[in-house]
Symmetry: C2
Subunit: 480 residues, 2 copies
């Protein structure tokens, strides 16, 4: 891609559209791209612009020119290969608090810094007006929602009904009375871990693993055992099984997994592996905690089922929230606590008494009215496009040898860089140049993944973001 | 009081009005009550009704008839003496979860049961319409509040400014940047305890102590050391000092106190004792956690200062919320974390990421507009009246030898019954008869206070509530 930012917007938007077609599979490996003439007619751009767009794709390694025939999608489209399966030691580690995390999160709120750090979407992706209407009408119908003390409330009936209904449509049996509404997914995970473990216990987690979860583990005084995880298929059930058999002295007390579009890898466990995981935990009598916060965000096709759908004994604790899908500011999450519902309900009381009923019923109103599915469709398409666009820019700007995940849902990509590059060392320079990202070591209690990073694709792609990725690529080249 | 409910409302409302005048000090001990003629003219009731009201007060021991002179307020008005200072063993205890608590709280939401259980006020006491207007205008001004992800947010600037401003007016120096907004006071207390202690640690608490706090202590695996507490003057600093000196092997790791209008006693520490407490904890290097949730609810005079006002080193962690004063359904609390602000902020992230910004700014809007003080004045008067009314009914209906606290703020009274009465044993019968209350043992990790109970005075006094207290009194008489 061109070095001058000024030139970028015109042809690069066209290039990005083509990348999207490739990444979403609408243009398959081996297929011919539209000709220069077709592109310039359809898009009302000059032939020069169309040529520039196609050349940019060629430079990124996404397409190849064949004499007299035009441009074709390369066999290994989406260019960079996936990172390899994680390889890990067998030692459980105490999690350490990382100040880089704080800076990364704080920088995510700075409008002057390219928003590739925290996993947040463009506020414009969410239905602000619909939420506003819904909150007004909810308060009109139930004017006491803000002045009544909701004591020992597991959640409002309306919201719990909607949550259970959605799971039923997925073929995942969840009873309304086992749902406890929480202050976001984070509180749900806290409740689950506090109920199932005591300080000093070891729990099995994916590796890499969301840094927020590592904070929870650290704050509860737990030890994390990192389990090898495949960038496409998620947690390795084989590796977990081996760990369960091996650890006689310091047994695993719970297993925490994000089976759909995990953070940071974006991996999704095949259904057969979900079933195996549930059965394995059941057999070893290890409670399974599932974080399904990204599950509704598939890029195409049908919504993958949570692991809980394969659980016949109501023993999987399924945690999720609306923070990534409907209302990031409402902080409404939940836990389907199965057999543990009474315990979790008690602990919710001891943690924060209740969750604001007004916000619960506001979301329930939208879910009941049916607008949610339409909104999700739009959101999924936006994330699919943005993931493809950021991936393409990474291919264009990052050093040779870079590998990236190809998530089928969510808003994140996980990038493996050549070995010499230390993303933690790179971080300060990047921030100083106005570029944010999440350095790899944030995702491991043992500080691994030094040559990895996570990129947020939740924001609409702009020339500024493309430029930020270019700058990041240059910093990497310099570090090699 | 008459046994037949039919006869009650007419004269008993008049009697309760007079009780209020006595309990709020508008009629002082030794002063003459209005004559039968004056009462019947002013109140437009028959002379018989006026006489019946005055006789009822006489039977309660609140007034005495003097021949040819009329009725006079008795020297020991408010009739029943205060309970004695608590006497305790020196052993720290693990807190046990109590299913009675769950039933008590659940029954508090049942409209068919007299609401003398959980500490909740009449929803009509709170400005529902004002809150509704404020939430609409806040969303109009800041339409993105529900769709922006508030990352690592200690709270909105607007709300933290208002909280700090109110403390400044009290002569309590709190910096805006040490305030972390929480999901109610309960989350604030959790954050404080999680930061300052580890499981197995012993913390010093008042005795009796709010059952919700005992749940927090239990859920964090802490041990509670009950410190003797005076029903009028609160925690005994002498007793705490002795405990601090004595405990070499199992040292106290933190002290948790509610210095103003404590729950359940309604006690308030004199300023000199607050200062001594702060200095004592400072000297022993024991962090002091203050729960000031009832501090704004004095029945008359000026608002008592929190213990934090006497802290020169920003080491007291001051927790509170708007759940008892402005918006019980909003679940907005806070912690002034002083030197610990960074740690607490990190832990808030690991607990629930953030608190809904829309609800924060809605409350900040009301605080900024100045209507809050007017609302508080009304609320304080309502609670003062209701505490006096419930106290009078207790004097009328409960067995001889009953003692009750005389709180100068809040909405609770703590009642000591004759030794033979077991409030836990009484509880099922009372619930079956449609009467709720909080049995004494809920307030002690060692199960003491079997002949005590707490009554909620947050609801407007009605003949039904008076009748409920009468039924409760009869159950007690039968148990003797």
């Amino acid at each position: 891609m061109n070095d001058t930012l000024e030139a970028a917007p015109i042809y690069s938007r066209l290039a990005e559209d083509l990348v999207t077609l490739i990444n979403t599979g609408q243009l398959r490996p081996g297929e011919r791209l539209p000709s220069v003439r077709t592109l310039s007619q359809q898009r009302k751009v000059s032939a020069t612009t169309a040529v520039a767009a196609l050349r940019a794709l060629e430079m990124r390694g996404l397409v190849e020119a064949r004499p007299q025939s035009g441009y074709f999608v390369r066999a290994s489209a989406s260019a960079a290969p996936m990172p390899a399966m994680t390889r890990l030691s067998t030692q459980a580690r105490r999690v350490g608090i990382d100040t880089v995390m704080v800076r990364m999160i704080e920088a995510s709120g700075d409008p002057g810094i390219a928003p590739l750090g925290a996993a947040t979407a463009d506020p414009a992706c969410f239905p602000a007006k619909r939420l506003q209407r819904s909150i007004s009408s909810t308060l009109r119908r139930r004017p006491r929602l803000l002045v009544e003390y909701a004591l020992f409330a597991a959640g409002t009936d309306a919201l719990r009904h909607q949550i259970a209904r959605r799971y039923a449509e997925l073929g995942c049996a969840v009873r309304e009375d086992e749902i406890i509404v929480t202050n976001g997914c984070m509180e749900a995970l806290n409740l689950a871990l506090q109920t199932l473990t005591k300080p000093g216990d070891t729990i099995a987690i994916e590796s890499p693993c969301y840094y927020g979860l590592l904070q929870v583990i650290q704050s509860l005084g737990l030890k994390a055992l990192e389990i090898a995880t495949h960038p496409g298929d998620g947690l390795s059930v084989d590796a977990l099984e081996e760990a369960l058999q091996r650890r006689d002295k310091d047994p695993i007390k719970a297993c925490l997994v994000s089976a759909n579009f995990s953070n940071p890898m974006g991996a999704t466990m095949p259904d057969a592996q979900k079933r195996r995981l549930v059965e394995l935990c059941e057999r070893h009598d290890i409670p399974l905690i599932e974080d399904d916060i990204y599950g509704d965000l598939q890029h195409s096709g049908s919504r993958p089922r949570p692991a809980r759908a394969f659980d016949k004994h109501h023993s999987v604790l399924l945690c999720s929230s609306f923070s990534k899908t409907l209302a990031p500011g409402a902080r409404i999450g939940w836990i389907c606590a199965g057999r543990r519902a009474e315990e979790i309900r008690m602990r919710k009381f001891a943690t924060s008494i209740a969750t604001p009923a007004l916000l619960q019923d506001t979301l329930a109103d939208i879910l009941a009215a049916g607008g949610y599915e339409r909104h999700l469709l739009k959101l999924r398409r936006a994330f699919a496009t943005q993931v493809a666009q950021v991936s393409a820019a990474v291919c264009a700007h990052f050093p040779a040898g870079t590998r990236i995940t190809r998530p089928r849902g969510g808003l994140l990509i996980w990038v493996e860089l050549p070995r010499g590059i230390d993303t933690l060392a790179l971080y300060d320079q990047a921030l100083a140049e106005g570029v944010n990202f999440a350095p790899g070591p944030l995702f491991s209690p043992s500080g691994r993944y030094r040559n990895f990073l996570r990129l947020n694709c939740g924001r609409t792609m702009t020339p500024a973001i493309d430029h930020a990725l270019m700058k990041l690529g240059k910093l990497m080249q310099r570090a090699l």
